[in-house]
């Protein structure tokens, strides 16, 4: 699944031209900008279904451009940059990027990443059908109708997310709820508990699990979730 419209912002004209050509051949309506200011000066810069950005840009720098875009749209954002390093990676993910690819990349690789991100977005936040939590039967039902049997700890976690209504649930809160289980003992086992819950859901349904870790803060269930 590819987005219908896509903005490509990169000052490497060769790369821009080849990539735009490749994506257009796949049926995507690509608008290319050599400078971030050109995108921002566009009549409707936030109309696109997807954004592919470089980090080192003339005009507004890539990370800043990403923050601006994030204030206006939840469209998919893929960063494709020559900068490599753990700190760069953390920076762009925190600024709201969905994925980060390091150059050099082939155009098939960009296409692959765009597809993956777009598919995830379309099957999580965008889906009209909510996830349903049946506390009495310890059952979570995914938007595609598949159901996941939950253990006692998993159920407790899911009830937290239900009460939070899409907000971030802090680690401390989860830890206090899990106080009588071994999962509360350390951050490691807390993370492991979340990891296991995610795996349990992944095994039951191909739908992307909207469970997101907010660095050093807590966890968020980024999709509609209702009580069954």
């Amino acid at each position: 699944m590819l987005p219908a419209t896509l903005a490509l912002v990169d000052d490497d004209t060769d790369y821009c031209e080849f990539l735009a050509q490749h994506l257009r051949s796949q049926g995507v309506d690509v608008t290319a900008y050599g400078d971030s200011s050109d995108l921002l000066a566009d009549d409707a810069p936030y109309r696109f279904d997807f954004y592919v950005l470089d980090l080192m840009l003339p005009g507004v720098a890539g990370t800043e451009l990403l923050r601006i875009i994030r204030k206006r749209t939840q469209a998919g954002v893929l960063i494709v940059s020559g900068r490599l390093g753990p700190e760069v990676f953390a920076e762009v993910i925190n600024a709201g990027a969905d994925m980060y690819l390091t150059k050099p990349v082939t155009f098939e690789q960009v296409e692959l990443a765009v597809r993956a991100v777009h598919r995830r977005i379309m099957t999580t936040a965008r889906t009209a059908t909510a996830w349903k939590l049946d506390s009495r039967r310890s059952l979570l039902t995914a938007p595609d109708g598949q159901s996941v049997e939950l253990g006692a700890t998993d159920l407790m976690l899911m009830e937290c997310f239900l009460q939070a209504r899409g907000d971030t649930v802090s680690r401390d809160h989860i830890r206090s709820l899990l106080a009588h289980t071994s999962a509360a003992e350390s951050d490691n086992s807390l993370h492991a508990t979340i990891y296991r819950l995610r795996r349990r859901i992944e095994k039951a349904t191909p739908v992307a699990v909207p469970l997101q870790s907010q660095q050093k803060v807590g966890y968020q269930f980024r999709a509609p979730l209702i009580a069954a």
């Binding site: 490497d12 060769d14 790369y15 080849f18 990539l19 050509q21 490749h22 080192m56 020559g82 900068r83 490599l84 390093g85 753990p86 700190e87 990676f89 953390a90 993910i93 994925m99 980060y100 690819l101 390091t102 150059k103 050099p104 990349v105 082939t106 155009f107 098939e108 690789q109 692959l112 990443a113 993956a116 995830r120 350390s186 951050d187 490691n188 086992s189 807390l190 993370h191 492991a192 508990t193 979340i194 990891y195 296991r196 995610r198 795996r199 992944e202 095994k203 992307a208 699990v209 997101q212 870790s213 660095q215 050093k216």
Partner: protein, 399 residues
């Protein structure tokens, strides 16, 4: 009020009891009076009634030797003052100041002489204490100076280190810049070649095979050059970060694996078989560095195993401890014993490596990246022949 003048005997008796060291002799050198303290110092036998005897005969030879010239000078009317020291019992030093005062002279100009001894042990002791203190002060002073020198040396080293660090970071920035400037054009050339390949294919020419082969070969070379650049850059970046754990993030594993396969030159890609023993989707890792790591392992396996042999990339999980397991399995000759110990060091190269580009950074990066993930990498033999490179990447860790 009446008084009688004191007699010489009375005076001598009083002086003696006061503890004063004192003696008087006449112009001929005959002792006229001596106190016990004087006798003791000059080692004269008090009991043998020394008064009336010539001084030279009374004094032991060694003592006469010390004082004889002084006595003679005093006898000529020259006042003398000097210190006399000797070792007392238990090795303690004792000191007396000696004053020789000439008195009346006879017809031949020879003077009678009064000799006085005063105890100056305390003065000497004070001097010694002061000398010791001076020495100590000197020592402290020396220490201070050498500390100052140490501090100076430390400053010098610190400056040097700052300078080296600055150089290193500048070096790294240069590397980043250079690689960015070089990598993307290479990538674009590769893309242009892929587009050409596609165009040739679309033309359905009768004899396109030689052109296609040549283009694939060129693309292969480009991929290898880019791989080497990536490794060099990653080595610089990981090392510059001081091996600190960067942000690993929730990553879509199937997408990552697909991306890695596209990093492998198109002509080699069909040899790779991906086996999903379990199907983990969201995993915790550093995608850019793990992509490079898997690519390095696959490229190694493809290069060292026979040209048409398959290479497996096997994905599985462990529940206890919670971990993602990636294995790259080849049917090559295996890793020689002598190389195993140094396999993950910088510059380690296998046989026939002269025909491949690279500086032996590949496995060094694999190990560095796994350390960054708090994971492990192992090279295991695969039966009947070949190697399993096994990555264990812990999951569910706190970031």
């Amino acid at each position: 009020m009446s008084f009688s003048p004191v007699s010489a005997a009375q005076l001598a008796d009083l002086l003696g009891r006061s503890g004063q060291g004192c003696a008087l002799w006449n112009a001929e050198g005959v002792l006229l009076m001596a106190t016990p303290a004087w006798c003791q110092w000059l080692e004269v036998d008090e009991g043998a009634s020394p008064v009336g005897q010539p001084l030279q005969r009374l004094l032991p030879a060694s003592i006469w030797h010390t004082h004889g010239q002084r006595f003679a000078a005093a006898a000529r009317g020259l006042r003398q003052e000097y210190d006399d020291s000797r070792s007392g019992d238990f090795g303690a030093q004792r000191h007396r100041r000696i004053q020789l005062t000439p008195g009346a002279a006879d017809a031949q100009g020879r003077h009678e002489v009064l000799m006085q001894l005063s105890d100056i042990d305390r003065e000497y002791a004070r001097g010694e204490v002061m000398a010791r203190q001076r020495e100590q002060l000197q020592a402290v002073h020396e220490q201070l100076r050498s500390h100052r020198q140490d501090a100076g040396e430390l400053d010098r080293l610190r400056t040097l280190l700052d300078w080296r660090t600055a150089m290193l970071s500048e070096h790294n920035e240069m590397l980043q810049l250079l690689s960015h400037e070089i990598r993307q054009p290479l990538n674009n050339a590769s893309a242009a070649m892929q587009a050409t390949l596609k165009a040739i294919e679309d033309l359905h020419l009768a004899d396109a095979a030689p052109a296609t082969r040549a283009l694939l070969r060129a693309e292969h070379v480009l991929q290898q050059v880019m791989g080497t650049l990536d490794n060099t850059l990653a080595a610089g970046t990981i090392l510059a970060a001081g091996g600190k754990a960067g942000a690993s993030s929730e990553t879509d594993l199937p997408t990552l694996i697909k991306l890695v396969l596209h990093d492998i030159a198109a002509d080699l890609r069909p040899r790779i078989e991906v086996q999903w023993l379990t199907t983990p989707r969201t995993v915790q890792l550093h995608p850019a560095l793990m992509r490079l790591t898997i690519r390095n392992l696959l490229n190694n396996a493809l290069a060292y195993a026979p040209a048409d042999s398959p290479v497996q990339l096997r994905i599985s999980e462990s529940d206890e401890p919670l971990a993602l397991i990636l294995e790259v399995i080849d049917q090559g000759p295996g890793i020689p014993e002598e190389l195993l110990a140094h396999l993950f060091e910088k510059g380690a190269r296998g046989h026939h490596s002269h025909s491949r580009p690279g500086a032996g950074l590949g496995l060094f990066i694999v190990r560095s990246v796994l350390q960054l993930h708090q994971g492990t990498v192992q090279a295991l033999p695969h039966s009947p022949h070949g190697t399993v490179m096994r990555l264990v990447i812990p999951q569910g860790l706190a970031e």
